[in-house]
């Protein structure tokens, strides 16, 4: 039994399907990259996985003691967050919220968990800094620490490196790779196919052509060949 099994899923908005017949499975410890062109429905698929959108058709089955709310989420930055007055600690702590249930305040264990994840992301020195004053890469680390407070199992990352410079991008990819090695399952939406091929264990390609399989199979497939061919042309 895998963590997440998606069967014949159609995703979209307002009843209009953006992408149909998506099938894939995510097992424990996998590193899945969802790639595809702009507008192919990557983000919509992710929102459906998180339960923010309802699936139009098909099923998402959560297995192996994973419940829907145990997925940590690294969203794309919103407009609101850019001038939000909040300290790093406040934001990371908010990842523990669902564990609180109806209890109004955080307990010691949750505060300790937040501190631990701040350390894990190497941002201890920013703990009391204001979120809006941080650089893009630092902000992503803060949001990653928050997501880790919400889960010990699966992380969903929505275009985590968009807008970051190459150096920061590389270090963020390394950080995510390390998390995956520690046993956290990664699902990442990205249009950086090069990085997807480098880091992922499995690839889901959506768009005109659907593909799901391991990285090696992907490179042999027609969808993957398109990518490798285009790369050759550039070179």
């Amino acid at each position: 039994m895998s963590y997440i099994e998606v069967k014949n899923l159609s995703v979209g908005y307002d009843g209009v399907a953006v992408e149909k017949n998506i099938n894939f499975t995510v097992g424990k410890g996998d590193y899945l990259c969802i790639v595809g062109e702009n507008g192919s429905g990557k983000t919509t698929l992710m929102k459906t996985l998180l339960g923010l959108n309802d699936p139009l058709r098909g099923q998402i089955i959560f297995g192996e003691d994973l419940t829907k709310n145990e997925i940590g989420y690294l969203p794309q930055q919103t407009e609101v967050q850019k001038d939000f007055p909040a300290s790093v600690q406040e934001i990371v702590l908010s990842g523990c919220l669902s564990a609180c249930g109806l209890r109004p305040f955080y307990n010691k264990a949750e505060k300790a968990l937040a501190d631990e994840n701040i350390r894990r992301m190497g941002i201890e020195d920013l703990k009391s800094r204001c979120y809006r004053e941080l650089s893009g890469g630092q902000q992503q680390r803060v949001l990653l620490a928050r997501a880790l407070c919400a889960t010990r199992k699966v992380l969903l990352l929505d275009e985590p490196v968009s807008g970051l410079d190459p150096k920061v991008t590389a270090s963020l990819y390394e950080l995510i790779k390390d998390l995956n090695k520690e046993g956290i399952t990664i699902i990442m939406v990205s249009h950086d196919i090069e990085a997807a091929v480098k880091y992922a264990s499995h690839i889901l390609h959506i768009g005109d052509e659907l593909f799901f399989g391991t990285k090696t199979d992907y490179l042999k497939s027609s969808a993957g060949k398109m990518f490798t061919d285009s790369k050759k042309e550039v070179n």
Partner: protein, 277 residues
């Protein structure tokens, strides 16, 4: 000072001060959330809705206007905060639509059906705050105090949830927090505050009570908690100063409070700039 002491010996002045401070406190608490959610103008929009409701109540010559005003305002608040998320008419446009429409219909209804001889006086006092804060009865003061305590209690208890929903609604929902319910709660609370505040500053100036303390505090502080506390303290100080000035100088209460709020914002912006640079 003597003049102030003399005025304070009148119960109606004391009531006005109590109610003013309580409303200022409540409106500033949610102000931070509303400003950050890009709903700065919800105060304005909802107060116009309340104005429309008042005019209907006046035409129907209801003795207890609140029965009509409160539900209508709450429903509008819910609709507005709902449409803010995923619809075709975005938050600011929806607020503008509802606010202008309610204002127009309110005035229209008052104009067509009014029995009052001083129509523009009525409209003016509803919009710009009347002297009704000086004619509060003991019962109204008690009601206001109870509602304020409830608002403050809700805010403290749900503080962490409100923070999470404001900062990142999608993340909160994805991790299983019932964001919709908290948005609904925020909408209801803000509607109650606005109906309360109409007595104090009138429809037009409510936005000022909601947004100025929050914006001032955001110039100075960097964490959500400190911004919230600072905004509450500032709002209370400004309301107190405004009410006392208006008593001593004989100026209109609402506009005086807002003037003090604007001055406080100016000072905070200046201090914030000096701190940075």
């Amino acid at each position: 000072m003597d003049k102030l002491a003399l005025y304070m010996s009148y119960p109606f002045v004391r009531y006005a001060v109590i109610v003013g401070v309580l409303i200022a406190l409540c409106s500033s608490l949610l102000g931070v959330t509303l400003v950050l959610k890009r709903f700065s103008f919800i105060g304005d929009g909802l107060s116009h809705v309340a104005f429309g409701a008042i005019s209907i109540a006046a035409v129907l010559s209801l003795t207890n206007e609140m029965v009509l005003i409160l539900p209508i305002t709450i429903v509008s608040a819910i609709l507005l905060l709902r449409t803010g998320q995923n619809t075709k008419i975005k938050g600011d446009a929806a607020i503008a639509m509802i606010s202008v429409a309610a204002l127009a219909f309110g005035y229209l209804i008052m104009n067509i059906f009014s029995t009052s001889s001083n129509l523009s006086g009525d409209v003016c006092s509803t919009l710009f705050g009347s002297t009704s804060i000086l004619t509060l009865t003991k019962g109204e003061v008690a009601l206001c105090a109870i509602l304020s305590v409830i608002v403050i209690a809700i805010f403290v208890i749900f503080y962490n949830k409100i923070f999470a929903v404001t900062f990142d609604e999608n993340f909160a929902r994805a991790t299983g927090v019932n964001a919709g319910a908290y948005n609904l709660m925020i909408a209801v609370v803000i509607a109650v505050i606005i109906v309360l505040a109409m007595n104090l500053v009138g429809s037009l100036l409510i936005s000022a009570l909601v947004i100025f303390p929050a914006l001032s505090a955001m110039r100075l502080f960097k964490s959500f908690k400190s911004v919230t506390i600072c905004s509450a303290v500032l709002s209370v100080i400004c309301a107190l100063a405004g009410i006392l000035t208006s008593i001593l100088a004989g100026t209109p209460v609402g506009s005086t409070i807002v003037a003090v709020d604007v001055a406080a914002f100016g000072i905070c912006a200046l201090v914030g700039m000096l701190k940075k640079g």
